[in-house]
């Protein structure tokens, strides 16, 4: 999200070079000097992170909407289904044995007309990074993690999603071994759409479960953006 006209908080006032920036350089340089990993390793990882984002998960959902057999595979075996959208959880680069922190057990939670899923990680902020990219800031907050499991409807309404009373809300609590994405219901008004068109309306927020796809809506719920002092360039 880059709504620069909608900035809520400026970057906090810190000294020109923050203590975190100094410590980060110190730790990285020491690790390289001591041979714990190489500069190449670090660059390879950074480049890998830049390749990640929500598009593969969105495409997985779009494919499943178009192909009932594939939808079945998604529900039975999310890791195998991910290969169809070029995400290999088990032997992904750069390690060739998957990412150290994401393990390889993806579950795809299919909504129905009477069931809405939403994902949290109450213990930290586990997130299906290989197929969805880096987690949003709000997903990491203790507030979201505290409240979603106890007051899911209220929290969803704060994202602008009112779930009707006759629809059950089911919260999936991620953990270090198991990661989830939500497969929302295909919305009305998308008959005859191509996979690419459908992929566009399955936003990151739809895949976490705090939004549902709508024709014409291709961006996340609009929230204030906290500015970084030295942001990662995109």
């Amino acid at each position: 999200m880059s709504d620069h006209d909608h900035d809520h908080k400026p970057a906090p006032v810190v000294d020109e070079v923050s203590d975190f920036e100094i410590l980060e350089v110190a730790v990285r340089e020491l690790a390289i000097e001591k041979g714990l990993f190489t500069m190449d390793d670090h660059r390879t990882w950074t480049e890998y992170i830049h390749t990640l984002g929500p598009t593969p998960a969105a495409r997985l959902v779009a494919k499943a909407w178009l192909d009932p057999e594939y939808k079945k595979l998604c529900i039975e075996d999310g890791v195998t289904a991910s290969r169809e959208v070029d995400i290999d959880w088990v032997t992904s680069p750069p390690t060739q044995f998957g990412t150290p922190s994401d393990y390889c057990n993806l579950r795809v939670l299919a909504d129905t007309p009477t069931l809405k899923h939403v994902v949290v990680c109450t213990l930290c902020s586990c997130y299906p990074r290989p197929i969805l990219g880096q987690s949003p800031e709000w997903y990491r907050t203790p507030n979201y993690r505290r409240r979603l499991v106890r007051w899911p409807r209220q929290v969803l309404s704060e994202f602008g999603l009112q779930v009707p009373e006759d629809v059950e809300v089911r919260v999936a609590d991620s953990n270090q071994k198991t990661r989830y994405i939500v497969m929302p219901n295909r919305p009305e008004g998308t008959d005859g759409w191509t996979e690419d068109q459908l992929t566009e309306i399955v936003t990151r927020d739809c895949l976490i479960g705090v939004a549902v796809p709508k024709p014409g809506v291709t961006s996340n719920v609009k929230l204030p953006v906290m500015k970084a002092a030295n942001p990662v360039p995109h």
């Binding site: 410590l23 020491l30 001591k34 990993f37 922190s101 996340n220």
Partner: protein, 143 residues
């Protein structure tokens, strides 16, 4: 950490005072008999286990990522890739061992970063002096 002037010392004590956990009962290392099962369970809860705790609605935000945050993530994953720690070990250290004040008080990747520094010291890949010398050296590059 050293403080050279009286003003610095007072500023430090003031900042630390603001971070004291809010305990709603007097606690001065109580006698063992004062800790019943309920209190014991409450004290042994780890700081990251927040699911279901009371809280009020807040405004949720997106956040731009700092370069050091991305680098920290890469460093932590490289340390795991090359066998210095496992993801489980990293989580235990950065979510539990940091304690409540740091857990709630530091930025998300701030905890990752401090944990990465500590693991290198704890596993004796670097000495504490090497770490503090390196921090000084990096600081001086920016003066």
């Amino acid at each position: 950490m050293s403080s050279s002037t009286r003003e610095e010392i007072l500023r430090h004590l003031d900042a630390v005072g603001q971070l004291q956990p809010a305990l709603h009962k007097p606690t001065q290392a109580p006698a063992p008999t004062e800790i019943d099962h309920t209190l014991y369970r409450a004290y042994t809860r780890s700081a990251h286990d927040v699911g279901g705790e009371y809280d009020v609605p807040i405004e949720y935000h997106e956040k731009e990522e700092e370069i050091w945050e991305l680098n920290t993530f890469a460093t932590c994953e490289c340390l795991a890739w090359r066998g210095v720690w496992s993801a489980e070990e990293r989580r235990r250290r950065q979510n539990v061992d940091v304690g409540q004040t740091q857990y709630l008080g530091l930025p998300y990747y701030g905890r990752w970063l401090m944990t990465a520094a500590l693991i290198m010291v704890d596993k004796q890949y670097v000495t504490l002096s090497e770490l503090s010398d390196k921090i000084e050296e990096v600081k001086n590059r920016h003066v």
